[in-house]
């Protein structure tokens, strides 16, 4: 079955600091046309960072899109300083939780919300942590409260709805799978 949509026209709606928005007119497989709205966003990393006493490191931070604080794993966009995803993992570990990891492993990669956005995130496991020698400056406007939780505590926070961030729930379920197997 041919599923491809052919772009007939593309219009730039907005070019912002974090996102850009585009509106396309596409030809569908049945030759009808439709509009598609697309939010472009940088690639990103999320990090399941496990301390040497087997706790997950979480951050509480204000998220303006939902007008409340959320509890999440360390994460961040790739930026011009990063050569690749692993560089971004190391930078975010330093900037956000002030750790270096002797072990960094890729878990998986995914589109966050492929219906309207191209944001692609890779999820990493970081273990064998030690405090950084030299702290990198945090992004302007980044205020974080760091928490460390056991697997049982983290699972309870997902069940209660205290954690309601997709990448964080993924990381906790992966950790649980890894622990059970």
């Amino acid at each position: 079955m041919n599923l491809e949509e052919r772009v007939l026209k593309s219009e730039s709606i907005y070019n912002g600091a974090i996102i850009s928005v585009e509106r396309e007119l596409v030809e569908l497989p049945d030759k009808q046309t439709a509009h598609r709205e697309i939010v472009h966003h940088a690639d990103a990393v999320g990090i399941l960072a496990i301390t040497n006493d087997n706790k997950i490191i979480l951050e509480k931070q204000w998220r303006e899109p939902v007008r409340k604080p959320t509890i999440e794993i360390p994460a961040g966009k790739l930026d011009r300083r990063d050569g690749n995803f692993v560089d971004a993992v190391k930078r975010e570990l330093n900037e956000e939780i002030r750790y270096e990891a002797n072990n960094v492993e890729r878990i998986t990669g995914f589109y966050s919300s492929v219906g309207f956005s191209d944001e692609y995130m890779e999820l990493y496991l970081a273990t064998d942590l030690h405090p950084v020698g030299q702290e990198l400056p945090r992004d302007k406007g980044e205020f974080l409260e760091i928490q460390e939780k056991t697997l049982e505590e983290a699972m309870a926070m997902v069940d209660s709805g205290e954690i309601e961030d997709a990448k964080t729930i993924m990381a906790i379920w992966y950790w649980q799978l890894k622990t059970i197997k």
Copy 2:
């Protein structure tokens, strides 16, 4: 620690069919200011639908934001016909995979990408499936290829990168956890 950001000014950038975009000027906890870009999107459901012979139902469809087909669990936005999330689950099961479920259970709820969007999705388990009596019309421009996969096949598709959709990886890991426990 006070994390709240106070909105000083808000500007509407775009009002589309699927998304709307807003740009805010906020006051940070340290009284500095920053801009926030926010993509508003309807709430949505994702469905881990398991057949009576224990296979997950997946859909292959073109996703214009990433210019390729992706493999995903059935999902969809809540619309004006839906009173609640469970109504949306039943409608999407009918429209997309032509099944009714005798058992529908909420698994969890999450923000897809809380850094820039307010999209909130609830993930449901649907089991005890039987073919629908009356088929609802699909959305215009919705072309789907349906697949059924065992847990082992689905896990291999995540590992190989053939599946790279966040909600779908979550659903498969949840299914694996439920099977192991």
